[in-house]
């Protein structure tokens, strides 16, 4: 015990304890929380999970991606490093919308909340009503997408088409299109 006390006393945390006990308490809590929540695999900001790409990504014959075409033939191509925040903001919700097939009741989080969480915690059910997307919110998405594409491209956009493409790679490493399906089409009303 004396050995551990000595080690701790000489450590950074021991230094904090000697200088400022409340700070020691806060830092110990923060570090313990960070490790603890990662062990629990539950994120509660600011205790972040750092498990990105911890599950295997299996190799498949084809790889999908969403291609966004606006005003009859212009392909939106955000290829530069500095476009990344815009790309995240554009393709995150788009992927979600396409995955849910524009149906709020198909959203996995909504299904979980309705079938599991609210039944387990009926007292708090009222507080979680605003945490799941409504059909009205999903219905508003296409018009937001058209307006954001207008912002990104810097021109008023009337029509947006989203294709889900599947691609395979040939022996030279070049992509070869296998299929292309229209998953969303928006026309200016």
């Amino acid at each position: 015990m004396a050995f551990f006390t000595k080690i701790l006393g000489q450590s950074w945390l021991g230094g904090v304890y000697k200088v400022d006990k409340p700070l020691f308490f806060i830092l110990t809590l923060f570090f313990s929380g960070t490790v603890g929540f990662n062990l629990l695999k539950l994120q509660i900001t600011p205790f972040f999970l750092w498990g990105m790409y911890s599950l295997k990504v299996p190799e498949t014959a084809t790889y999908p991606y969403l291609e966004l075409i606006y005003d009859h033939g212009h392909v939106l191509n955000l290829r530069h490093t500095w476009n990344e925040p815009q790309k995240t903001y554009l393709y995150g919700p788009l992927g979600r919308y396409v995955y849910d097939k524009a149906d709020a009741s198909a959203d996995p989080f909504t299904i979980y909340m309705e079938t599991v969480w609210r039944k387990k915690h009926p007292r708090f059910a009222g507080l979680t009503q605003g945490l799941t997307m409504t059909q009205n919110e999903l219905d508003r998405y296409p018009s937001w997408l058209r307006s954001y594409v207008s912002t990104v491209t810097g021109t008023p956009v009337d029509e947006v088409t989203v294709l889900q493409k599947r691609v395979s790679f040939d022996a030279s490493g070049a992509p070869v299109e296998v299929s292309s399906d229209t998953v969303l089409h928006i026309d200016h009303p």
């Binding site: 994120q43 900001t45 990504v57 925040p85 919700p93 919110e137 508003r140 954001y148 030279s172």
Partner: protein, 288 residues
């Protein structure tokens, strides 16, 4: 760390944050550029539940004037914190605005983006008063940075299974770069990427190398002797994963500043060491 070094460090951190936020502003990715998004996600993060239930993010997004005013406050406060680095109230306001921005962006981007976590964490030590206490808190940020990469390593090797899948490098590469390769045929970068696809073992070995590099950061939890090398760990990890997996975590590198030594900060004195606040004028002597 002395007061001058604290000034330089604060300016370095707030300067980096302002630079990254400016890139986001130009890319219509700050609140005033996001429009009125309708989709969102809170996942099981209770902080996001409370944040969404507060009504603040919806109010900000539905009122254009509020979003513009928020951006003005965010940048204005950041600049003030840069100019007056010893004013902890300015830093507190900047930190709160950054948290609100990050959570709002992630809420409506429908995913929790690890790269933005640095925005929430990095300013916390600067809220501590007194140089001795600040030095200890900032040292804590260095330990946290090491811990983050060690946890990432444990996730891939102990709690997850990706490290043991030998094709992880090439499969991640194809999954994440399929759009770039399809939309940009004939570019130099595409030619380089295709060369790597013809040599997939390099991608797979590189992926394992990156995971091991995350594990090596454990050294920093026990000694500071190798900080001059460890500082390059996150730079290599995020540089490589960006170019070979299109995983953009460059913004998280603000945490890497915690590896900077006092000597390195002293070298920045000519650039960032200008007075923190105008000195009080001495009482002028009245000529008789």
């Amino acid at each position: 760390m002395n007061e001058r070094q604290r000034i330089i460090l604060t300016r370095l951190v707030t300067g980096c944050l302002l630079f990254l936020l400016t890139l986001r502003l130009l890319e219509h990715a700050t609140l005033s550029g996001l429009g009125s998004p309708s989709l969102f996600t809170v996942d099981l993060d209770l902080s996001y539940w409370l944040f969404k239930d507060s009504g603040l993010p919806d109010w900000l997004m539905q009122h254009r004037a509020a979003a513009v005013a928020f951006d003005v406050c965010l940048f204005g406060n950041g600049v003030l914190a840069f100019v007056f680095p010893l004013n902890r109230k300015l830093i507190l306001v900047f930190a709160v605005l950054l948290v609100v921005y990050t959570m709002t962006f992630e809420l409506f981007a429908t995913e929790h983006i690890g790269q933005m976590d640095g925005y929430i964490l990095i300013l916390l030590p600067f809220l501590v008063a007194g140089n001795r206490r600040f030095t200890l808190a900032w040292e804590g940020m260095r330990y946290l940075t090491c811990l983050i990469y060690v946890l990432a390593f444990l996730w891939k090797t102990v709690w997850g299974n990706s490290f043991y899948y030998l094709h992880q490098g090439v499969s991640t590469f194809k999954s994440n770069l399929v759009d770039y390769l399809s939309l940009n045929p004939g570019t130099t970068m595409t030619a380089i990427y295709e060369w790597f696809l013809r040599h997939p073992w390099l991608l797979n070995a590189g992926e394992k190398g990156v995971v091991l590099l995350e594990g090596i950061m454990v050294v920093g939890l026990f000694t500071k002797k190798y900080d001059r090398y460890l500082i390059w760990g996150p730079v290599i990890i995020h540089g490589v994963t960006y170019f070979f997996s299109d995983v953009f975590f460059i913004e998280l590198l603000v945490l890497d500043l915690s590896f900077l030594s006092a000597t390195a900060l002293d070298r920045l004195t000519p650039i960032l060491g200008f007075p923190a606040a105008p000195k009080k004028p001495k009482k002028a002597s009245i000529p008789h």
